[in-house]
């Protein structure tokens, strides 16, 4: 009996808890709740707290996150006004501004489905806005010429206008360009150009190096030639001075010119002979004249 009483107590407590769960619901501060009576949205609760309702299926509650939700669209290729091509993606912060209007627009009030619809709108608005701008509105070494803010405002205004017109119950809180880039083929070309630019600097350094080296070498050669030429000139002058000084003694030879000339001839003869000289004499030449009238002795046998 006691056991049954405990079982009944436990069962009753559990029953009360589960019945309370059926009749009450909480709304978190981050949520907005749409109460539906027989599947018709009848009330929207935005303030956090504990509320009472008829049990399902009479009344059902649909919870939505009323905080800003963010997502990023696809990194898509876009044609610009100056016929450039650029890839771009934007991030979006949106919130459910009117849950009652939002709920029936998407099956089950799905935020994911809403996000997909929103993404379609944003892509369209993005292409339209980008097509009005040039590449240097997005990439420019002069930051004052960038038009990021202007483009973001254009896209946000365009999407918000559509959402408001069709009463989606969604508001775009902010929108920003998250990534920009170039298509792969253009990127390759930019890489090639950047490499060419560097190669220009390489060629500049190489040719300047060679030129400067050649200049230094030629200057050195010229200086060397100058030095040697000066030295040769000095040498000639010194030689001349020597000759001049030597010439002062020529008067001594004038005392007996015959002997002097004879001696000069002998000097010339000595200087003109060398190892390879071949001389052919006959017996009349002194001292070979000694071979004349040489008594011939008996022939040995």
């Amino acid at each position: 009996m006691k056991k049954n009483a405990i079982t009944i107590i436990i069962a009753s407590v559990l029953l009360v808890i589960f019945v309370l769960l059926l009749f009450t619901f909480q709304v978190r501060q981050s949520e907005v709740v749409v109460v539906s009576t027989f599947l018709k949205p009848t009330d929207t609760i935005t303030n956090a707290g504990l509320y009472v309702k008829w049990p399902w299926p009479v009344q059902s509650i649909n919870r939505f996150d009323q905080r800003v939700q963010t997502f990023e669209d696809k990194f898509a290729e876009t044609y610009l006004a100056d016929q450039s091509i650029m890839n771009a993606s934007v991030y979006i912060g949106w919130r459910i501004s009117d849950a009652k209007a939002f709920f029936p627009k998407f099956p089950g009030g799905s935020a994911l489905l809403a996000q997909r619809q929103l993404e379609t709108m944003i892509r369209s608005a993005k292409l339209e806005s980008f097509s009005r701008h040039n590449l240097d509105d997005f990439v420019n070494s002069d930051p004052t010429k960038l038009k990021f803010d202007e483009t973001e405002t254009e896209i946000q205004a365009s999407v918000q206008a559509q959402l408001t017109t069709n009463n989606y119950g969604i508001s775009i809180e902010f929108l920003g360009i998250k990534r920009i880039g170039l298509p792969e083929s253009v990127t390759t070309s930019v890489f090639d150009r950047m490499k060419a630019e560097r190669n220009k600097y390489i060629a500049d350094a190489q040719s300047h190096g060679e030129a400067e080296a050649a200049n230094i070498k030629s200057a050195a050669d010229r200086k060397a030639a100058d030095l040697i030429a000066d030295a040769t000139a000095d040498a000639t002058r010194i030689q001349g001075a020597g000759e001049a000084e030597a010439a002062k003694l020529l008067g001594v030879f004038q005392q007996n010119p015959q002997l002097a000339v004879f001696e000069l001839q002998l000097d010339a003869l000595k200087n003109s002979m060398n190892q390879k000289s071949t001389l052919i004499f006959d017996e009349r030449w002194s001292p070979f004249s000694l071979f004349q009238n040489v008594p011939i002795g008996p022939t040995s046998k």
Partner: protein, 624 residues
């Protein structure tokens, strides 16, 4: 009593049918996979309770028929009803026919439904893993819990009745009701799991129930096979073919308790199950469970916040305050709930790169060696701006743009927890998006070469300020502690080797300096040698001068002294000089002396130089 049992069977059937229909409706509206599995189970329970109730009716009719016939026999004599033909016992015949044909057929149907149900549940849950509608989840949870409670009460009553009165036909339905209670409880737990942010809980409960159905099908098949070979002994009470032992085991978990007790007894060698502790646990199990529930609920009335954390307390969903580290009181769940966040801790995310373990472990970071998965950012390029033209098609490819790889770690702290929690659904992702946007924007308006060199420090500071301003504008409640340009370089990897060409420029600068230094070394060498050569030429000339002058003086002196000798014997002196000099001058010359005169001989001299012997032995080979 028989009437009471039959009534009990009918109540079981009614309860099973009502809860099956209600459960099915809840499942359809809530889209719970576990609910679908529970519905299949409850549906089978309806069939079993119906067949058992029907069989009870047949048995009751048979007994009534027998009583009536016995009564008639006593009043009119036994001979009249001694005939034993089939037509004399319609109720008994009906029961026999039912047991002979209908019950096996029903068991086969049950087998098909269990096997088919198991397969369909597995297949269906695999194709539709998440069907539970968030809006109906709480209601579905409550209703399945209530179903579990009702089935438990009715099932428990029926099981006890069946055991006390040993009524075999009440047992199958009662077991199914009680097992249905546990199935509904598990279904409610699966839905609660989804509510508690475990989205796969519903799926896994559904799959578990599908496996249970499969096991029941296997058990049913084995029962059917064994039935074929069962010895038919007259008068022996037959167990109903559709009674599932597995459902019975599920319905009476205390039998598991008994089995565990027996195992303990065997293991310890004495009657553990007869100790006061074991008996107390067994007898007070519900009280203990209740106590545990109470302790569980009590444990939700206080909470601890760790160092470096802050917690938000929500009272019925409303922000009721922020709490720092320490112990704090609160109302029990579900009135108050706590959400903790790491506020003091420095958190970080990366912009422009995805860190990987291998590159993080490496002690060397080079431009030309990929060290993380890096993105390229568009950046202005003033150096190329002069070649850009606008308004032409060619202009598109000649825009002054460059690409740069940047690794930027961003560190932050949560400073305002309410803003962080309640303004944005995914604040971390949002902050990353904001930071990426600011980085893209900043680089797009910068010059490539400046950002690579002198603009680097300025960029880090500017980016931190910009990201902080953007976070403040969006009321994120975060403080940007640090933004670092830890790695910034021209793109590399894949087909691009731009970074390599940047290194090559530096190499070329060094090569240029080397060439200049080589030339300067050559110049020094040339100048020094030429100076030496010039010095030598001058010196040689000077030496020659001295030699000429000295020789001239010597010769003059000699001549002065020769004059007296000459004048003394001019011809002799001349001859002597001549002979002295001719001998000295021709000492090394080749001399031919012709001693024969007045002849007509022709003498031929070969005055050609002889070829050197080493040239004769020169070996010349043709090389390709």
């Amino acid at each position: 009593m028989e009437r009471s049992i039959q009534k009990n069977g009918l109540v079981n059937l009614t309860v099973a049918l009502v809860i099956f229909l209600a459960g099915f409706a809840v499942t359809v509206f809530a889209g719970s996979l576990a609910g679908q599995a529970a519905s299949v189970f409850l549906g089978l329970g309806v069939l079993v309770t119906f067949v058992s109730w029907f069989q009870m009716r047949l048995e009751v009719n048979e007994r009534l028929e027998k009583l009536e016939l016995d009564e008639l026999a006593r009043s009119r004599g036994a001979s009249l009803f001694e005939a034993k033909d089939a037509g004399s016992f319609p109720a008994r015949n009906a029961r026999e026919q039912f047991e002979k044909f209908i019950l096996p057929g029903f068991a086969v149907l049950l087998l098909v439904l269990e096997a088919g149900g198991a397969w369909l549940l597995w297949y269906w849950s695999g194709k539709n893993p998440a069907l539970l509608k968030e809006a109906s989840a709480t209601a579905a949870l409550s209703l399945f819990a209530i179903f579990a409670l009702l089935l438990f009460l009715f099932g428990r009553f029926s099981v006890t009745m069946a055991r006390l009165e040993n009524h075999r036909l009440l047992r199958p339905g009662a077991s199914f009701l009680l097992a249905g209670a546990y199935v509904c409880a598990f279904t409610a737990l699966g839905i609660a799991g989804v509510e508690a942010k475990y989205p796969d809980a519903d799926l896994w409960v559904a799959r578990g129930l599908g496996v249970l159905l499969g096991l029941m099908a296997v058990e049913n098949l084995l029962t059917l096979l064994l039935e074929l070979y069962r010895p038919r002994v007259k008068g022996k009470v037959v167990r109903p073919l559709y009674e599932s032992r597995l459902a019975g085991l599920l319905a009476q978990p205390e039998s598991l308790f008994t089995t565990a007790a027996q195992t303990l007894d065997y293991q310890f060698g004495f009657k553990v199950s007869e100790t006061w502790f074991f008996q107390a646990c067994k007898q007070n199990l519900p009280v203990l469970l209740l106590l545990q529930l109470a302790v569980l609920l009590l444990s939700t009335t206080f909470f601890f916040v760790d160092a470096g954390e802050q917690a938000v307390r929500e009272h019925f969903g409303k922000n009721a305050g922020v709490y720092g580290p320490g112990a704090h009181w609160k109302l029990p769940w579900p009135a108050d709930r706590i959400y903790r966040f790491r506020t003091e801790q420095i958190q970080s995310f990366a912009v422009g790169y995805t860190p990987d373990e291998q590159s993080e472990a490496s002690s060397l970071v080079l431009w030309t060696v990929p060290h993380a998965k890096e993105e390229n950012f568009l950046v202005g390029n003033r150096a190329s701006a002069t070649v850009a033209e606008t308004g032409t098609n060619a202009a598109a490819s000649t825009k002054p743009v460059g690409l740069i790889s940047v690794s930027i770690p961003v560190q932050y702290q949560i400073t305002n927890i309410a803003d962080w929690v309640y303004n944005t659904a995914t604040p971390e992702d949002f902050l990353t998006s904001l930071a990426t946007r600011e980085v893209v924007h900043y680089f797009a308006g910068s010059d490539l070469n400046e950002i690579l060199s002198s603009g680097r420090l300025e960029a880090a500071t500017a980016l931190r300020e910009r990201i902080q301003a953007a976070a403040n504008e969006r009321r994120l409640g975060a403080k940007i502690v640090f933004v670092g340009l830890q790695d910034i370089h021209p793109p590399n990897g894949g087909k691009s080797e731009v970074a390599k060409t940047y290194e090559n420029v530096v190499s070329a600068g060094q090569t240029r300096l080397k060439k200049i230094l080589d030339a300067e070394a050559d110049a020094i060498r040339t100048n020094t040698l030429s100076e030496a050569q010039a010095f030598a030429v001058t010196n040689i000339a000077d030496a020659n001068r001295i030699r000429v002058v000295t020789a001239a003086y010597a010769r003059a002196a000699l001549f002065t002294n020769q004059i007296p000798a000459y004048e003394a014997a001019p011809s002799v002196y001349r001859q002597r000089l001549y002979l002295q000099n001719i001998a000295a001058a021709t000492r090394d010359a080749r001399k031919y002396i012709l001693l024969v005169t007045n002849t007509q001989d022709v003498v031929i001299f070969d005055l050609e130089d002889k070829i050197r012997t080493d040239l004769e032995n020169l070996n010349i080979t043709n090389t390709p």
